[in-house]
């Protein structure tokens, strides 16, 4: 089976500094790839390179290739706006748009030109259910998304991303600010979502990667040290540095 995403010698520079140093890996469809590594290991830079969000920062330059379904994301024919409609992203800080809960979810579909009220209503319920948020907010969909708790906001952001029906979902430490119960809800949602989506989960919490991901990639100082099935990475890593990290000896 061809991989969903192929990354070849991906390098990202900020100013003169090389943040991501030649990463190559494949991401299989309908799997969850966990990306772990200490702070400053360029996990987030890697993730943001997949939907070209790095280039929003001034002075950023990217080299190498990222193929999503065989299409070169950095090729001249690729429109980043169209790309980001296929590739959803959830950020570390939950940032609902300053709109109602309902409007947050339908923001993306509306951009795509969906106007049918019944269709939007159905989408809102479906996505909020998939993000395990529906029961908590179904009576106040018109209320502001900013009034929700942190955990609810993050699930709202997940629902809003799902409403785009993205093939690939990128999550950047989605649970870093959340309590264990909210974290469990999100992980539960992810495990169901992988049936229809391919997921990349960047996390500072190695236990989360062990729990939630099928495969794990370990990044260090901008390089990919090792990648493999999650079970093997955590029990029998082939690189000494990976072993030190997953057993908590540093980082």
């Amino acid at each position: 089976m061809t991989p969903k995403v192929e990354v070849r010698d991906l390098r990202v520079f900020f100013g003169g500094e090389e943040a991501l140093r030649g990463v190559s890996l494949d991401i299989a469809a309908n799997r969850i790839l966990g990306v772990i590594g200490p702070a400053g290991s360029a996990k987030t830079t890697f993730l943001r390179a997949l939907d070209r969000m790095n280039e929003l920062k001034a002075g950023c330059r990217t080299a190498g290739r990222v193929l999503v379904d065989g299409e070169d994301v950095y090729g001249p024919a690729c429109d980043p706006v169209a790309l980001r409609k296929r590739v959803g992203m959830v950020f570390a800080m939950p940032v609902p748009l300053p709109l109602s809960i309902y409007e947050n979810v339908v923001y993306g579909p509306r951009l795509n030109g969906v106007r049918n009220k019944a269709e939007l209503d159905g989408l809102v319920e479906e996505c909020l259910r998939a993000a395990f948020l529906w029961d908590e907010v179904k009576d106040r969909l018109g209320g502001s998304g900013l009034k929700l708790s942190g955990g609810q906001q993050q699930r709202l952001c997940l629902a809003r991303t799902l409403a785009m029906r993205p093939e690939l979902i990128l999550l950047d430490e989605p649970c870093s600010g959340l309590d264990p119960i909210s974290t469990a809800r999100i992980e539960e949602a992810l495990s169901l979502l992988k049936e229809r989506h391919t997921i990349v989960l960047v996390t500072n919490n190695t236990k989360q990667a062990a729990r939630a991901s099928d495969e794990t990639a370990f990044f260090l100082m901008g390089e990919l040290v090792e990648m493999g099935p999650t079970g093997r990475i955590f029990t029998n890593p082939s690189d000494k540095r990976t072993e030190d990290y997953v057993t908590g000896r540093f980082g």
Partner: protein, 285 residues
């Protein structure tokens, strides 16, 4: 020694602060003391809604001036608000950051140009153009609106730029990550998030337009009659006070103070609206 000098500075600053507030109170008290008895004697209805202003024969209706003021103010807003907000959006969202760094101080400098200079340009350049292109006297409500519109640009722009800059970067990224184009993200998310700040800037610009006197006297024509179109000459409330204060006595003088009360109340309302809009923005975070 250290502590006592500290206390001294604190008292000094307190005294200065009190003086400032006191000045405002004294001005307000003075205007009301001079104008209020007149307002009660003539009746606010007669004063505000009669269009007969002949102080020498005891007719004190400021409606033409009130209407001219409203015309000029809203005209200025029509010019200044779209330009100011659009300019602020361009500078903070689309323009290169280096441009914004240069442009913002330059815009604030524009606020420091004496209003007589704006008036002068209005008289020498704008009025002849209007006279030639649209007819009428040239010195008109339209001319005053255009000049004021430019004069309130710095207020609207600099407050709008601050409001847009205060929108967290994460809002923009959130919208862009959902596949919004830059313009969609700005229009649907950034402008909405900064909305109350943009409104506050517009209201403060409006306050400035209501209160401006010198430039308006120079370009509005100052005829005391009900303006029928924007090409007509008109006299605003502020212009009326400034033009007649020099020779007014007795009831006439009091009538001008009463005009001051009207302006005072108007500005207070506008500032109240602006600060409540700004507070609403702060509360949302």
């Amino acid at each position: 020694m250290k502590a006592s000098s500290d206390a001294f500075v604190r008292r000094l600053l307190l005294a200065v602060a009190c003086t400032t507030v006191l000045c405002l109170l004294v001005i307000a008290a003075f205007i009301f003391k001079e104008g209020l008895p007149f307002l009660l004697k003539v009746g606010p209805g007669n004063f505000l809604f009669s269009s007969d202003w002949r102080p020498d024969s005891g007719h004190y209706g400021i409606l033409p001036m009130l209407v001219s003021s409203l015309y000029v103010t809203f005209g200025a807003l029509l010019v200044g608000a779209p330009l100011g907000i659009a300019g602020a959006i361009f500078l903070s969202e689309f323009g290169p950051p280096a441009l914004a760094r240069v442009a913002k101080p330059a815009i604030e400098l524009l606020a420091g140009i004496p209003s007589v200079v704006f008036g002068f340009i209005g008289v020498m350049v704008l009025a002849p153009i209007i006279r030639g292109a649209a007819g009428g006297p040239g010195l008109s409500i339209l001319a005053a609106s255009l000049v004021l519109g430019v004069m309130i640009l710095p207020t609207i722009m600099s407050i709008s730029i601050d409001a847009l800059a205060a929108v967290p970067q994460s809002y923009r990224e959130g919208a862009l990550a959902l596949g919004a184009t830059k313009w969609q993200a700005v229009r649907m998310v950034v402008v909405k998030a900064a909305g109350s700040g943009l409104l506050a800037g517009t209201i403060l610009g409006m306050g400035r337009a209501v209160g401006e006197t010198m430039a308006v006297i120079m370009v509005a024509g100052n005829a005391v009659r009900m303006p029928r179109s924007v090409l007509d000459s008109g006299r605003t409330l502020t212009a009326n006070i400034a033009l007649e204060m020099g020779y007014a006595t007795g009831m006439h003088r009091q009538a001008l103070f009463a005009t001051g009360i009207v302006l005072f109340v108007f500005i207070m309302i506008l500032n109240g609206l602006a600060s409540s809009a700004l507070k609403r923005r702060a509360g949302k975070r």
